[in-house]
């Protein structure tokens, strides 16, 4: 009975560290495979859009990045809730490891959106509801990272950051709808994308790219959480054993 597989065992950094180490190459490989397939479908197979020409192909980066930026925030809030409810060490580390990737995705989404907007709408930036809420999401990521970076005590940083994430996640829908309403009041929906019927290959390309981004985020977050674990637990035996083993291996 004692050998039964127990997921909770991996809530401890000492057991999660090697698990993450073995998982990273798989997630990275899956990400590359999905990425190659998605780019092939998106760049070569998918038909040219009759309105937007070739320029629309940035959608294969833009939409997955936007999806991931929102999804990662939710995942962070999930870990924050777990961390605050069960007082687990790993949850806070996981949330912190995800934050830079989430911010990167939000930034990518804004950046590619600007590149896409210039030829399509004739402007780098419009105060569209979706653009504005994505920008605010980026601010929320930056606020979270600034807060956790400003607190020296790691446990307090985790908890304070977690609370901020939970407050943020409650606010995100309110912000989204207020921005949406503000936008419709101020300017008509002049920037609606004509996404009436998307070709099936386009959709598949986008989904494959989304999987690629998803797997990439997991791989990178696991790498980051490994370094955070080593840094935080540097005084424990398992880290010493881990690093000592590496040093000994290097000497051979």
């Amino acid at each position: 009975m004692k050998d039964r597989f127990n997921l909770y065992r991996f809530a401890s950094p000492a057991t999660f560290y090697p698990l993450a180490g073995t998982l990273i190459p798989y997630f990275a490989a899956i990400s590359v495979i999905f990425g190659l397939a998605g780019l092939y479908l998106g760049m070569l197979v998918a038909p040219t859009d009759f309105q937007q020409g070739e320029g629309y192909r940035i959608i294969f980066i833009h939409v997955p990045a936007s999806w991931m930026s929102m999804f990662i925030y939710l995942v962070m809030a999930f870990w924050a809730a777990i961390g605050l409810a069960f007082n687990t060490r790993l949850s806070g580390m996981m949330a912190q490891a995800l934050a830079p990737t989430g911010a990167l995705m939000a930034f990518l989404s804004l950046w590619t959106g600007a590149l896409w907007g210039k030829p399509m709408w004739g402007a780098w930036w419009v105060w569209d509801a979706r653009l504005t809420s994505e920008l605010i999401l980026l601010f929320l990521y930056i606020g979270y990272m600034a807060l956790t970076a400003a607190i020296d005590d790691a446990r307090r940083a985790d908890k304070a950051g977690g609370l901020l994430l939970l407050v943020g996640v409650v606010n995100v829908p309110i912000i989204y709808f207020s921005v949406k309403w503000w936008n419709t009041l101020h300017q008509g929906s002049s920037v609606n994308l004509t996404k009436s019927s998307m070709a099936e290959t386009m959709l598949w390309g986008m989904l494959l790219m989304a999987m690629c981004f998803w797997m990439y985020s997991i791989a990178v977050a696991l790498m980051r959480v490994r370094t955070i674990m080593l840094e935080r637990e540097r005084n424990t035996d398992w880290v010493k054993a881990e690093l000592g083993g590496q040093v000994a291996g290097g000497k051979k």
Partner: protein, 222 residues
């Protein structure tokens, strides 16, 4: 329950009255920022009338931000906060009292002075009325949401800048509906819808924010 809240309000108001310079400086900050805008963009009444709601609201957000770091910092420094956290009453109630006191000291004066500044921007009487009402309705939400940020950044280096980074994005709905109410009145659409939403945000944040703030304070005091 009400007794604790009112006791905290009374105490905080008394403390604020002993240091009136703090209240007055935040108020003058508000006045100066608002007065800078016509100097920056020119004195055309049409333009000013259009900008007034946004300018007044952004200035109100910033003025509220100014006084937030002091919400818990003094009590934290002299140990009062720990005593309050140890007290048998729920910390959330104490925070509710502090939020209300903060609003009385920082939000209420803004609402009282706002119509005068609105006249500078050539707003009509209707718009002035709605502006005052919107600031009265919206600033409690600013105090409530701001309290969470103040508690999270308690005792941190660079707390003030960090606080604005955390809190300003969360203020956006208040800004939108607050300025929107005045805007809608100016354009003749009627601001009731905006004011209702503003009231909803205020009730939600004054009701819930103190408990999140209490949790943040407990983290900070650990």
């Amino acid at each position: 329950m009400l007794k604790i809240v009112s006791a905290v309000i009374g105490r905080d108001l008394k403390l604020a009255m002993r240091r009136q310079a703090d209240i007055v400086s935040a108020l003058f900050f508000f006045i100066i920022v608002v007065s800078l805008f016509p100097l920056g963009i020119g004195p055309e009444p049409d333009l000013l009338r259009k900008l007034a709601p946004g300018v007044l609201w952004v200035a109100a957000l910033l003025a509220t931000m100014l006084s937030l770091p002091r919400l818990f910092a003094d009590d934290h420094r002299d140990g009062t906060l720990e005593q309050l956290a140890l007290a048998p009453h729920p910390l959330g109630l104490v925070v509710t009292g502090k939020v209300i006191a903060h609003w009385l000291v920082s939000g209420l004066p803004l609402a009282l002075i706002a119509p005068v500044l609105g006249i500078q921007f050539d707003l009509s009487a209707d718009a002035l009325l709605v502006l005052t009402g919107a600031i009265l309705l919206g600033t409690p939400a600013l105090s409530g949401i701001g309290a969470i940020g103040a508690a999270l950044t308690l005792g941190l280096r660079g707390g003030g800048v960090l606080l604005s980074l955390l809190v300003l994005p969360l203020y956006i709905p208040v800004l939108i509906f607050g300025a929107g109410a005045v805007d809608a009145t100016v354009t003749g659409l009627g601001g009731e819808g905006h004011l209702s939403l503003l009231a909803a945000i205020t009730f939600a944040s004054v009701g819930f924010a103190p408990w999140a703030t209490a949790a943040a304070l407990k983290i900070a005091l650990e």
